[in-house]
């Protein structure tokens, strides 16, 4: 019986909501209870955005993630704001090409992935979020069911953009296979 609370945070436009959605669908295909809650309002259009995802063996209570088990920070303000809230023993994923400081907490595990730089090096500059998600899935045992990941991606990428599936999957794998730091 377990519940994992994820918080994705960054600028509007970085694909925060998309990452959360893929993760939520992954939970759904794994037969779990899930919820996905975006911050909404003007911040969606350029300010800080966040997205709460809960994946649980039991019914999800409040969909609001206040103390995440897993924080994915895609900009400095997000790390500054949410670092203290992460549960002891939790994990913080940092896009190290956009955040030049280290995680201060010593009771959490931190992973530093230069996702934005990797994305631009690989000509997929809009997919830093997906690269990060690949690492998140890897470190939270999400890739033990790789078909589930593919199925989740298929659900989120609309039929209209089916040609993007392969590129997204490759981005996920880039993140998964990232070994630095």
């Amino acid at each position: 019986m377990s519940t994992t609370q994820y918080l994705f945070a960054g600028f509007g436009g970085q694909g925060i909501l998309f990452s959360g959605k893929v993760l939520a669908y992954k939970g759904l295909t794994d037969g779990k209870n899930v919820s996905w809650l975006p911050s909404y309002g003007p911040e969606m259009r350029g300010g800080t955005a966040s997205c709460s995802v809960i994946i649980s063996d039991t019914a999800v209570g409040s969909p609001i993630v206040e103390k995440p088990d897993v924080l994915v920070a895609m900009n400095l303000p997000s790390l500054d704001l949410y670092e203290e809230r992460v549960k002891s023993g939790g994990i913080i994923f940092v896009d190290s090409s956009l955040i030049d400081r280290k995680v201060k907490r010593t009771d959490v595990t931190a992973y530093y992935i230069p996702a934005t730089k990797m994305a631009s090096d690989n000509n997929i500059s809009k997919l830093a979020n997906v690269i990060l998600l690949g690492k998140v899935l890897k470190e939270t045992n999400g890739f033990t069911n790789e078909q589930g990941v593919i199925d989740a991606l298929k659900k989120v990428i609309s039929a209209k953009h089916a040609d993007m599936l392969e590129i997204n999957l490759n981005a996920l794998k880039l993140g998964r296979d990232y070994k630095g730091e």
């Binding site: 919820s35 909404y40 309002g41």
Partner: protein
């Protein structure tokens, strides 16, 4: 059971309405419910339905009035300030006994307020919502699945009793995604011999009207309407109980507040505190008896609300002074945290009732 899909609460309402046979939607953009309009704009033209972005909330509700008068299932949706504008039409529909579904995805008020989630339109929704003697059936979903199911139920109850039904949701319920199944049992649509569809020269003309200049006539229609409300009160009260069997403290909460409360209750139970939840699903008719019964066994009821305390008044009326009823709240778009609710539970357990 069909495959579950992830949907936003707002989208689940829209798709459920279509499943329920609603082919007419009128609305006006306002955060945080615009996804409903956007969904309808996409879907309605493909299924021969009407989506119309009206010039105002007032026009939208009056278009709803027109479609309902013509005997078809119809809905509108808005958020708090927009619902105030619809008040006129809501009252006229009550006066003319017209069924429709109205969705309020609440945001903080009063005035222009904010755009974050709120439950501060409870009074407006449950006490009538505009001028005159009337009620709406008010349904309070606490999950995306319920957003869909209560939409269908809302149409059915509206038609059955010739009243408007309101889905009283909030920004969180509208914006969050959860797995939802849209495999519903649909009740048969009722005949509407009162509708204006043309006499076809075969019957006396139908008149849809809320004007009764003779006070004795108006009194009579109001009394008849309230007799119908009594039947609704007897048959349509809905609520959910959670861990109430041995509860010594009762949390009362609906919608998102009930979700937050469940976290706090689970935590309190781990600490050995006997606490349970009564979650009203119909806010009108209010589950008076559930609270009256609870007052015979619990030592305190805590109303958890996203307002300055509105439902608490109905709880107090229901328990009639038997046990203290206290408030645990945030307002203006803020949401109580599970910790805040847990603190209130611990306080109550130690005998505090402030």
């Amino acid at each position: 059971m069909s495959e579950k899909v992830l949907m936003k609460g707002n989208e689940a309402i829209a798709e459920a309405a279509i499943k329920a046979g609603c082919r007419h939607y009128f609305g006006y953009p306002i955060t945080p419910q615009t996804e409903i309009a956007a969904y309808m704009a996409k879907r309605m033209p493909k299924i021969g339905g009407t989506f119309l972005q009206a010039e105002s909330e007032i026009a939208a509700i009056n278009m709803v009035y027109g479609v309902s008068a013509a005997g078809k299932r119809v809905m509108t949706s808005s958020s708090s300030p927009g619902i105030s504008l619809k008040g006129e039409g809501i009252s006229y529909m009550a006066g003319a006994d017209l069924p429709a579904l109205i969705v309020n995805v609440q945001r903080g008020g009063p005035g222009l307020g904010g755009i974050q989630p709120s439950q501060s339109d409870y009074f407006q929704a449950t006490k009538g919502g505009a001028h005159g003697d009337f009620h709406m059936i008010v349904l309070a979903p606490a999950s995306v699945q319920e957003m869909a199911e209560l939409t269908v139920k809302g149409f059915e109850l509206a038609d059955k009793y010739r009243v408007t039904s309101m889905i009283l949701a909030d920004g969180t319920m509208g914006q969050m995604m959860e797995p939802v199944s849209l495999d519903f049992e649909l009740a048969e649509e009722v005949e509407k011999p009162w509708a204006v569809t043309g006499t076809k020269m075969g019957r006396k003309h139908n008149i849809v009207n809320s004007l009764f200049l003779k006070p004795d006539q108006l009194e009579k229609t109001n009394i008849e309407r309230f007799e119908r409300y009594e039947i609704i009160k007897q048959n349509e009260v809905r609520y959910e109980e959670y861990l109430m069997e041995d509860a010594e403290i009762c949390i009362a909460a609906f919608g998102i507040a009930a979700r937050v409360a469940r976290n706090a209750i689970d935590e309190a139970r781990k600490q050995g505190i006997k606490v349970g939840l009564i979650r009203p699903i119909t806010l009108w008719p209010f589950p008076e008896k559930a609270f009256a019964d609870a007052s015979n066994k619990v030592k305190q009821i805590i109303s958890v609300e996203l307002s300055m305390g509105q439902m608490i008044e109905d709880i107090r009326l229901s328990v009639n002074g038997k046990v203290p009823v206290t408030l645990c709240n945030r307002t203006g778009g803020m949401i109580p945290s599970p910790e805040q609710v847990l603190k209130a539970i611990i306080n109550a357990n130690e005998g505090g009732n402030e």
